[in-house]
Amino acid sequence: MIEFDGVSKSYLGMRPVLENVVLRVKRGDFLYLTGVSGAGKTTVFKLLMLLERPTAGTIKLNGAEVTALDSRQTAFHRRRIGMVFQDYRLLPRLSIEENVALPLRVAGLPRVQVRKRTAECLRWVGLEERRQELVQVLSGGEQQLVAISRAMAFDPPVVLADEPTGNLDQNMAHTVMSLLQRINQRGTTVIVATHDLHLIRSFRARTLLIKDRAIHEVRLVDHPDSPFSPEAERSLGAVPTG
């Protein structure tokens, strides 16, 4: 479903972040994208969303090359991907409800349907009571929940979650991960970018590691403390736990 072929990305005048990356994600996959700070996790998501363009290579979603899309098609392409941004990217002066409704409203859905779907998404993250509050006064974790809720609103075939639990308490993180797993079981492709090995340990899944500008598959091992081989663990810069 998602195919990166020989994708390279270097930001203007900088050394490359990704080089000749190959990635295959099948419909209905659930996977982690991990790597140290600045490895390029967010960049991979931005490339897929067409928020950045690759310097080289092709990116395909459902067999269609995304870099060839025009402005209008880009908008439709983005509706097929729900992204939880690392910095949330919410409109601070709108209410929780309005932020979650945004993708539905700009797509021109009828008002009743928007309201129904929005309420549903807010219920999942436990914010339906507070839907009238302005986003700008929310705590960090609450904003993250709104961002997660918005990414689900369109019920998109692909969800990209960039560090979705970084500001959540363990209980809420657990709720969110269960939610992601549940929508994954209904057929949604889910990619979670994270450097939280404890998260991966709790909700094991296929894990990709960005290292030295390339994406590697990480071998999972059956160890209670770390899901990774010692080698992978070292690349992640993880310190021994416990």
């Binding site: 402005s71 908008a75 983005r78 990217r89 919410l90 409109l91 709108l94 409203r105 700009v106 859905l109």
Partner: protein, 297 residues
């Protein structure tokens, strides 16, 4: 698109960021006010100088020894002419004393003149619309039986024409400059306020809004603020106008002038309002589109 998203979102934006909306509206209002004041001043200067400066008195010198009936007939003929206003008959005696008056301090010069040598004259003025045709009208009356010479201040007319020409040329040049400044102010304040909302536009784009959807709410916002600015400016211009006219009329020396002033006619205001609203919408649309092209790379 406009009904489901653009209009509600545009109006909401105005409400939620009311400070910025007020700032933008006041900038637009002040620019419209400057523009309106410039145009109004220009219209009035041209209008009033056209009426007041144009001395279009025409004098028909009647033949020496003309019969009283014929004189009467010519006078009636003149009075019946729709192009003519204020027609009066001037006897030789009256003419002489008028002339002495015209000469002012030089009136002593007239002592040696005998009124018997002077003809009867008929003096009249032309209605404002017909003043441009003064030559033709003078020629027509010159051909009339009983009329000797036809005199009108051709040189004064030339001066007025020149004055109007200069006023109009300089005035239009300045108005063009004002219009340019106006467009600059409005477009740059639109750009300024949108520039700071780049984030919002990026987010909308990222959640799958097409360019036209994104632009729609900004267009509504721009139209509303521009329309509001126009109405505020109109209010300012109207109040100023009333104050000035009242002041002019209050002074006896200028009251006639005050009564001749013009405000914008309604048939000019309605299209201007529509233009203001469209301008606001178009400006926002262009700015947003340009920004979107920048964002999409």
């Amino acid at each position: 698109m406009y009904f489901s998203y653009g209009i509600p979102r545009g109006l909401q934006s105005i409400r939620t960021d009311w400070r910025a909306s007020i700032y933008s509206t006041l900038i637009i209002a002040a620019s419209f006010a400057m523009l309106g004041i410039g145009v109004l001043l220009y219209l009035n200067v041209v209008h009033i100088s056209r009426i007041w400066l144009a001395n279009t008195t025409v004098s028909l010198f009647l033949d020496q020894g003309i019969s009283a009936e014929r004189r009467q007939a010519v006078l009636e003929r003149v009075r019946a002419d729709p192009a003519v206003i204020h027609a009066i008959e001037v006897s030789p005696q009256e003419g002489l004393s008028q002339l002495a008056g015209k000469l002012g301090a030089d009136h002593g010069l007239m002592n040696g003149v005998d009124p018997a040598n002077l003809p009867y004259t008929i003096d009249f003025d032309l209605s404002v619309d017909e003043r441009a045709n003064i030559r033709k009208i003078a020629a027509r009356y010159g051909a009339l039986e009983g009329v000797g010479e036809v005199v009108y201040a051709e040189r004064a007319l030339e001066k007025v024409r020149l004055f109007l020409l200069v006023t109009q040329a300089v005035g239009l040049f300045f108005i063009a400059l004002i219009v340019l400044s106006f467009l600059f102010i409005v477009s740059n304040s639109t750009k300024l306020s949108l520039h700071t909302r780049r984030d919002e536009i990026e987010i909308l784009s990222a959640v799958g809004a097409t360019r036209s959807v994104i632009s729609s709410s900004f267009v509504i916002e721009g139209m509303t603020l521009s329309g509001a600015g126009f109405l505020i400016a109109l209010g300012i211009a109207w109040v100023s106008y009333q104050l000035i006219v009242a002041a002019l009329i209050w002074n006896p020396a200028t009251s006639a002038l005050g009564e001749r002033t013009l405000f914008f006619p309604l048939k000019m205001l309605l299209p201007a309002f529509a233009a203001a609203v469209l301008l606001g919408g178009a400006g926002s649309h262009i700015s947003v589109s340009r920004m979107l092209r920048g964002i999409e790379g």
